[in-house]
Amino acid sequence: MSQYVLRRLLIAIPSLLGISAVLFFVLALAPGDPFSELATNPNVPAEVQAALRAKFGLDDPIYLRYLHWLSAMVHGDWGFSFVSRMNVDTLILQRLPTTLYVIGSAQILALLVAIPVGVYAATKPYSVFDQVANTLAFVGFSLPTFFTGILFILIFSVTLDWLPFVYSADINATGIRWLLEMIRQAIMPVAVLGLFQAASMTRFVRSAMLDVIRLDYVTTARAKGLGQAKVIVKHVMRNAMIPVVTLIALQMPAVFGGAIVTEQIFRIPGIGSLLISSILSNDTPVVMAVTFVFACLVVLFNLIADVLYGWLDPRISLR
């Protein structure tokens, strides 16, 4: 087992190197310049832009810049933002709590909806409940979040005036009022993201349950005279949840990566909005750091999913 993990970790190194190289070169070759806004300003002479480029090492050849970046990254230096002139890790850490809170809550909401609905639908396939759940799931994952987000804003903020639609990371209150405000402003983004996730997850849970529910050992359990609830929870769900756990593990990086569209709509200062604004302003160090960290998380959680799979299902051996 430990040998397996070690081998997987070693394999991850070249793939991460490859990912970082591709990311870096694509970004370096992309058009645009972090100081382009200065170019149209007649007050700023071209030399300033040139001096800034030189100062931030933008005029070096690409491979040299990549090597610089790589060696800094190995030493734990994530780089220095061109646009904010501060360390990239500070920038990311500033944004991380908000992303974890909002996207994490959305994932939990998705699970809380998807598992009961999926399980119940699978126990009564093609019943009215199953049909309704299926239809809603289809509608749910067919509607993009930018649409449902704006719809929610129009209904709950503009028309009904119940909820704020501009998210604020620092609420000017303490104690219970702070908590209530935090929940209140997160309701819409969490609902939009959570229900979108729940829709596809419900279908996944349902089909995983259906795969198991028809197996002989379930019939045996029923024949023993066990109650429906016990059969479903103890016998069926335990086995059906194995692929679901893997799916959840694979979605974990997204909790850290943020949701670009939703964060933009609700002005949530998370990683996703940091990424998009950095891309728009050509702030390569930030884009590099965010995407690379995301790549690392994907690789890591893939490994975790595999290990979990083996642990949950001892029939699968990891070699």
Binding site: S36, A46, E47, V83, R85, M86, A169
Partner: protein, 596 residues
């Protein structure tokens, strides 16, 4: 009234032999309004009457929170590193200049005790130096006093090329010396009629010497106060998250009476313009939102029964179509649009004039800009004293067709005009942006009617406005026949705005296309007028020279002005923001208040 008589009267006011009010009265007698009379005085070098900003609150604070929404949030808080106005706006909450520009383009003293003038001895007669008196008793947020040393230091800091400050062009060519603890003298190398540049407006913010002294030059980026400003402004710094949030609280020691009105200030970033408009106008979650680049129809719809409204400020920002004087399709020494070529079609001035007749500015205004635009024939649209009255524009397909017919451009079999085997086909480029693509469509339609074939091209803004030497699609390279974009006028003086188009500034391969004269316009008269204006100390003559430059651009049809664009913001119905088209949104933040 005779010019001579007017001048002698201005002279009398200057010397104090006639008072302002009497002058204005006499002007009124001949039918001139008071603001115009004031303008004339200002032109004549008499100190501008300090615009009486109507400010009603009678005590400091008590106004609760002020919530601002910038759909692009500030990413850094050092005004001398600001890459865009968003950063300047954020810094300006905490840092202050000597003076800022008010709505009419007049100076409003902030840290200055008074605005320098010839009368108070601040301005030298030869226009080579200016003395600013600093308001006594001003304190930095950390309690240290503000002195002339801070100004001298700010100049050293910004003018040091190793600092790489964006304000270097403002400070690079001047010398600042300390006269006394509370006054400084700025020395210019050449007579400088526009003296109010250094320490005025966005780039004028002064930095505390005691906190930045160790971080001048190459160490500039390490200064901890780049992210935690300590200024003299109405609000003290509380918190900053780049791109997301700037927070401040009332400065109890602020140097202006009864100011500021609000107890806390918050500038939130992110999102898009439409939803920002919604948050202010419809739901009232925020008090003020910046830069409403939203179609007027949408704004009008939001305003119906809303909690806020749109507010406008007039500056000199001009959206135009520029004409290429060189040939974009012939390559000379590895360079297209080379100065060694002439544009095959536009070398005929009739084609340029006809094209100008084909831009339907009224329709563009109606369909796109609405209240946020004014039609104009001029490239230079403000301040009032520099605006030419000699120009005009018109939209007429018939006249354009006739002009082209007369010039020998005959409609061919395919409906496109041609002359000497050259077809009237144009490539029209601009940045990718809704209103611009609509303008392109309107122009193309009119051109088609007149027998001109226009091919449209739109380039992503990040490419179009970049200075990437390797990319052929940038606006300075101008590998097209005509191109459209906007040039903002960043100060109420035309010097920088007009200087771009002298022949020494043409964009070429040699200067890596960093020359600002992208139409590659060459006219000796224009060069001479600019050179004369830059050293002309008589304000009346100087204004006349810039008007002449504008008129040359018009007669030569270098630009076809599409729209004189106003600044559009959204404000809550109760907020009274002090805005100016000649300054950034927050440049007069100390004067903002709320009225029930």
């Amino acid at each position: 009234m005779l010019d001579k008589e007017l001048r002698s009267m201005i002279g009398q006011v200057k010397d104090g032999r006639m008072d302002r009010r009497a002058f204005i009265k006499r002007m009124a007698a001949v039918g001139l309004t008071a603001p115009l009379a004031n303008q004339i005085l200002a032109l004549g070098g008499v100190a501008m009457a300090q615009s009486p900003a109507v400010y009603k609150p009678t005590q400091r604070g008590g106004g609760g929170p002020l919530k601002l929404l910038w759909w692009q949030g500030p990413t850094l808080l050092n005004p001398h590193f600001a890459t865009g106005t968003k950063d300047q706006d954020g810094s300006r909450l905490f840092y202050e200049p000597l003076a800022s520009w008010d709505a009419d383009g007049n100076l409003n003293p902030i840290l200055a005790a008074e605005i320098p003038s010839v009368a108070n001895g601040g301005l030298a007669a030869d226009a080579k130096s200016v003395v600013w008196k600093i308001k006594p008793g001003v304190k930095w947020h950390d309690g240290k006093p503000l002195t002339a040393d801070d100004f001298v230091f700010t100049w050293q800091y910004a003018s040091d090329p190793a600092t790489a400050a964006v304000s270097i062009s403002t400070y690079g060519d001047i010398t600042v010396e300390k006269v006394s603890d509370l006054s400084i003298r700025i020395l210019f190398k050449t007579p400088t009629p526009f003296w109010a540049n250094a320490f005025v407006g966005a780039y004028g913010c002064v930095l505390p010497k005691h906190l930045f002294a160790d971080y001048k030059g190459s160490k500039s980026r390490e200064a901890p106060n780049n992210l935690a400003p300590v200024g003299t402004g109405p609000y003290k710094f509380v918190e900053f998250k780049p791109g997301d949030l700037v927070r401040g609280q009332l400065n109890p020691d602020y140097h202006m009476p009864n100011r500021p009105y609000f107890d806390t200030i918050e500038m939130k970033g992110g999102g898009d313009a439409v939803s920002a408009a919604r948050a202010v106008i419809q739901t009232g979650e925020f008090d003020f939102a910046w830069n409403m680049q939203v179609e007027d129809d949408v704004l009008l719809r939001l305003e119906k029964g809303g909690k806020g409204k749109t507010v406008y400020a007039t500056g000199g920002d001009i959206e135009f179509i520029a004409i290429n004087f060189t040939d974009p399709n012939t390559e000379v020494d590895g360079e297209r649009s080379s100065m060694k070529t002439k544009h095959p079609i536009f070398s005929d001035p009739n084609v340029r004039k006809a094209l100008s007749l084909l831009v339907d500015r009224e329709s563009v205004k109606k369909a796109i800009y609405g209240r946020a635009g004014r039609t104009t024939a001029n490239y230079l649209n403000g301040p009032e004293k520099f605006v030419s009255k000699n120009t005009s524009w018109e939209f007429s397909v018939e006249k354009a067709s006739k002009m082209l017919d007369d010039a020998g451009w005959k409609v061919g079999a395919d409906g496109i005009r041609e002359k000497d085997g050259k077809k009237l086909k144009l490539l029209y480029q601009t940045s990718t942006n809704g209103p611009r693509q609509k303008t392109q469509a309107i122009v193309k339609q009119a051109c088609q009617k007149a027998g001109i074939d226009v091919e449209l091209k739109s380039v992503v803004a990040s490419v179009f406005f970049s200075s990437d030497v390797a990319n052929p699609d940038t606006y300075p390279k101008f590998y097209a026949d005509i191109e459209e974009f906007q040039i903002p006028m960043t100060q109420p003086d035309p010097a920088l705005h007009m200087r771009r188009y002298i022949s020494a500034n043409v964009a070429t391969k040699e200067n890596k296309w960093q020359g600002q004269n992208f139409p590659r316009y060459v006219n000796k008269d224009y060069d001479a007028a600019i050179a004369a204006a830059e050293t002309e100390t008589d304000p009346v003559k100087r204004a006349a020279l810039y008007i002449k430059c504008n008129d040359l651009l018009w007669t030569d049809t270098v630009f076809i002005p599409v729209m004189h664009r106003l600044l559009v913001d959204a404000s809550s119905n109760t907020l009274r923001p002090a805005l100016s088209g000649w300054a950034n949104r927050t440049d007069n933040i100390q004067d903002w208040y709320r009225e029930a």
